[in-house]
Subunit: 672 residues, 2 copies
């Protein structure tokens, strides 16, 4: 417990909710790292597709980056509208649910979930791969490094979105600052040199083209470059994390992220052309990423180069943080609608949805372990989900505006505004839809088809979860007054192995609630002295139980001796309970299980877990009218227990102040 407290901090009260909300400063590290990290691999991916064009690739990079920047612009305005209209968590999921129906919302939700999980695995392993290419000695520790980063990001997010945002603010703003300086220097040099600057560290000569540019090649380069845009939807999915006025802070965060991303993409595309930098073959010796060549060309290999590349590496590795901000919030929205298990909707210790965070960490961790920390094979799966949700969200907004426009009480001004909004989201839907098609087509054989299998499977799962909850609610629904047919004393069965204080206490309690008490004793394996022992026990029972009970004016309990050929208490007890139920239809059979309280972990090793097992068997298979009662018995003497209890309670409650205030409040409310 102290370790949990050290790692996660004290539990937070509901009234602290307001203070835990984030502003734009924390919003960019919390939600923007995915998008910012994309700036490094988007252009690189596009240039890699064009690698066969050699020096010619630079002639086309502008033609590919321009539509991407345009698309980014469209997305920006579309998402502003989405955020304003649906200022809650869930983004594409909520928009689709409200405008396109349940199936569409589950499609959007499933696509987003898959994408978020992939983003964690791919982001971390990309960051670690970059680190390893810088420090090859770390190669044997690839997986360990990946998992270490995963643990750090998970812990930070379990502490809270605001903590994670603050923790990762340094690398984020260092990255933004250093690349801003880098691009400014580079562009200034390039413009001063009339578009032909002299590189400080010349990039490798670009080879001759071995292929001619085809439309399909350019489309594939475009779809590869589109990965630069994943993460733009993040803000819309996590609006609930912002403090009030939340739309204001969400806008500021979205604007900051998109402007930085746009400048980075534009700047990189321009400088790559100016300094004649192309993608290099990753499988070849001496590989350098486009950004590394670019930074070298602009400022050389000085300390600034290393600061810039170091912060890039941190941003890449931490791009997983975006998923950790949004995935739990998305899952909460889905769980509230009953499509995910309820624990996903439970607010955890630090006022975040801890189950979602842990689930994301486990799933992504499993992917990392299965792929040994190298997730290149997962990259084609990535981005499909993101663009699917872009399209869903935009289409949903189109439907929204169309419905709004049908309202009769609109002023002409409102009508005009809605028309503009409809147009923006319409363009967004069309372009992202087209981009999705290109991406799926271009990446289908590389593995994108897997996403198209997983997403429907996920939808089926979500729907069957909802079906379970619907059945549960249906069965549990209770209209009308309470049924009092069970409101009479039960038949009580006290189960025990030995006769001691434990049994004494249990019997005494049983006698207090019913006149029909049976004590069950499991006989030892038949032996020569078994009969004698039984006789002795019955005699002791008569003197120590029956007589005093009768003297106290109560009905004495009945002693039953059970024998078990299979050395277990559960089977004969179950059979006894069944017999009793058959004999006394409708009566409740209450089984009393005395239990030694184990306050220390090692005590579990020193006791058989029979009581626990018998309890679970009786509850599961005992039939409708069986109730199980646990009578705790403490080993420690009274004073020792009190010390131990105080100590353990302090741990349990995390601080005693909380307990005191709780007790005080309770006293007031218990007075009705």
């Amino acid at each position: 417990m102290p370790l949990v407290r050290f790692l996660l901090g004290r539990p937070l009260a509901n009234k602290e909710y307001g203070e835990r909300k984030i502003g734009a400063f924390e919003g960019v590290p919390a939600m923007g790292l995915d998008a910012l990290g994309s700036s490094s691999y988007g252009p690189e991916a596009a240039l890699t597709v064009l690698i066969s064009l050699g020096a010619l690739s630079l002639a086309y990079i502008g033609w590919i980056m321009a539509p991407i920047l345009l698309l980014l612009c469209v997305l920006y305005f579309s998402y502003r509208q989405t955020i304003r209209t649906y200022p809650s968590n869930g983004g594409a999921y909520t928009v689709s649910r409200e405008n396109l129906g349940t199936n569409a919302s589950l499609l959007a939700g499933a696509a987003l979930m898959v994408d978020y999980v992939l983003n964690v695995a791919v982001g971390i392993s990309a960051g670690v791969a970059a680190l390893i290419s810088a420090v090859p000695e770390l190669h044997p520790y690839t997986l360990e490094l990946c998992l270490a980063i995963l643990v750090i990001v998970t812990l930070a997010n379990l502490r809270g979105t605001i903590d994670a945002g603050r923790l990762f603010a340094l690398p984020t703003y260092l990255f933004v600052g250093s690349f801003f300086v880098l691009l400014t220097i580079g562009i200034t040099k390039a413009v001063m040199a009339g578009g032909n600057p002299t590189p400080v560290e010349p990039p490798p000569e670009l080879p001759q083209a071995v292929e001619l540019a085809s439309l399909w090649l350019l489309l594939r380069a475009f779809s590869a470059g589109c990965t630069a845009m994943t993460g733009v939807e993040a803000v819309s999915n996590g609006v609930g994390a912002f403090r009030e006025p939340r739309v204001h802070y969400a806008f500021r965060t979205l604007t900051t992220i998109v402007v930085i991303l746009g400048m980075l993409l534009g700047g990189i595309a321009y400088l790559a052309t100016a300094y004649r930098i192309g993608a290099m073959d990753q499988t070849q010796e001496g590989y350098q990423s486009v950004l590394s060549q670019l930074a070298g060309a602009v400022v050389g290999r000085n300390w600034f180069y290393f600061v810039a590349m170091g912060s890039l590496l941190a941003v890449l590795a931490l791009s997983a943080n975006t998923s950790f901000t949004d995935f739990p919030r998305l899952c909460r929205a889905v769980a509230q609608d009953g499509f995910l298990p309820r624990p996903f909707a439970v607010v955890g210790r630090r006022l975040v949805y801890s189950v979602g965070i842990i689930y994301l960490a486990i799933t992504a961790g499993t992917l990392l372990i299965v792929f040994g920390g190298i997730t290149d094979h997962l990259i084609p799966l990535f981005a499909v989900g993101a663009f699917l949700t872009f399209t869903m969200s935009q289409s949903g907004m189109v439907m929204h505006w169309r419905r709004e426009l049908q309202k009769s009480d609109l002023s002409p001004k409102e009508r005009a505004q809605h028309r503009v909004s409809l147009a923006i989201n319409g363009i967004g839907a069309t372009t992202t839809g087209a981009a999705s098609g290109v991406i799926i087509a271009a990446k289908f054989t590389e593995g994108a088809w897997i996403t198209l299998v997983i997403i429907p499977a996920a939808i089926v799962l979500l729907k069957s979860i909802r079906r379970y909850y619907d059945t549960l609610a249906e069965r549990l629904r209770d209209d009308g007054p309470i049924a009092l047919d069970q409101a009479r004393p039960p038949i009580v069965v006290v189960a025990t192995e030995d006769w001691n204080r434990l049994t004494d206490q249990a019997l005494s309690f049983a006698l207090g609630i019913s006149r029909e008490v049976f004590a069950v004793h499991l006989k030892d394996i038949a032996g020569p002295d078994a009969d004698e022992k039984e006789q002795q026990l019955r005699e002791q029972w008569r003197i120590d139980v029956e007589e005093p009970v009768r003297a106290a004016g109560l009905t004495p309990p009945v002693l039953l001796m059970l024998e078990s050929q299979y050395r277990r208490l559960d089977v004969p007890l179950l059979a006894l309970v069944e017999d009793m139920q058959a004999e006394h239809r409708g009566r409740v059979i209450a089984v009393v299980l005395p239990e030694v309280v184990k306050l220390r972990w090692w005590q579990y090793l020193l006791h058989t877990q029979r009581s626990r097992h018998v309890r679970s068997v009786l509850l599961k298979y005992g039939g409708p009218n069986v109730v199980v009662m646990n009578i705790p018995w403490r080993l420690e003497p009274r004073s020792a227990v009190e010390i131990l209890e105080t100590e353990l309670k302090a741990e349990l409650l995390h601080d005693e102040e909380a307990l005191r205030s709780m007790a005080a409040r309770l006293g007031a409310s218990a007075a009705r």
Copy 2:
């Protein structure tokens, strides 16, 4: 469950005990594999110490093996006496406890336990090492092979000692048979050739001596060779496994094992001298074990050679089986005395002590994993424990005979017999004691000191376990009649999150056992409509609960609304229970927790585990007068539950016949 049944077989009834006992045929594979396997590495180990003497080593091997054979002989007669005197499980542990006191018995017990664990790890890895030197392609799978063998031996023993004995009879007797043939051929050839036979496959030429023989070298060779004797104590530790007359079958088994072992050791020593075979350096290319050279020299590399070597390999790998027979029986004896956790004394599904078997498998498996399946470093630790227990057991017997001789009613014949017995055990104690000293001295720096640290640590642990049980028994002891101060209806608190049938049922039950019922409802996080909701709930409570209850002539329950800033039911409930206990000193507070019954594993994922958690917190920290009641509620409709229950019950009970006979017997005994 069907998997468990497939792997382990049906559960066995107590009355089947007799049929599960073993005779000498199963006894040799069950207890003798350790000793028989030793025959291969004892002589090898002695010759390896003498390796620096080169060809000269053969001049000494007789001088080393002769005392070992003599010691074996002494041990044989000593152990016969031990078995006759103490025909129960526990061997050295029991003998020491009866004659030397608790500390000595714990020393013997701890030494044996450590030795048994080491035997499993070392035996399996030695077998796998031999396999790998024959088939080098298997080298990358060393650990996997070790663990696979461990799993097989574990499963076989969980099925029962007799099953393991039968399963491993084939390799055991194949080994015995083929080596008997091999030695016979070899000795015949050697004798016919006047002691200088021509090898079929000549062993490598022995090098010149690089060192002169010293007494210390010979002592070290002797102590190395003594490892051949580990396993001789096995029969005495597991006498309880034999069928009646158990001493008879134990004698037959012990005799068989010792005679085979003696013949193997003597034959190997003679043939090594005759064929001029010495140990080879294991780290050198082309290494061959002494037995492999010997078999090659006697019969050449034909099919018979491969059968013999294959069976040797199997015996080595399966020598762990001896530990699996004896370790659980030893632990059971120790647990019955309260020095080990009680579960070690529980008879499992197949009438063996399953907890001991599983514990042994886990400990040895951990050792194998930690050492990557190569346990050479553990070998020096080995044998120290065995010889310690030899000495303890013999010394105990000496004390036994001395006490017997002090009895006044002995006939002269008995007195003479006891004197002989005393002499035999005295020689045994002296020689094994001396051998222990040599072994510890010779192997001290190689790692034997670790055993001398682990064994005392184990003794401390065993004693503290006993102290716990003593305290428990002391606190639980109940003399005199039942205390009836709790025999009055408790104050009942019904805890719930929602209002539905589940709550209905729980409330109705609570009203049946007490007139003081409180229903606790956890309020939602304060929101704008929280007050309204509360008002609505109170109104519903008045109509649906209070009025009908009053109409039925019962006292209506009191509704308490609790609020929790930390989103948990346990803390406010605990505080409430504490308040109630303070207010009503001595009264029992019964907390009713309704619980949805989960019959399928995935249902656990779909529900929060709050009820379970609250139960455990209340039992642990609720104070002395808190009782927890679980009211189960089944989701499935009645008919579906019945089908499911039948199905699951069949799984639970393993066969329905057992349930029926149980129910019938129960009916009879329930009639008192």
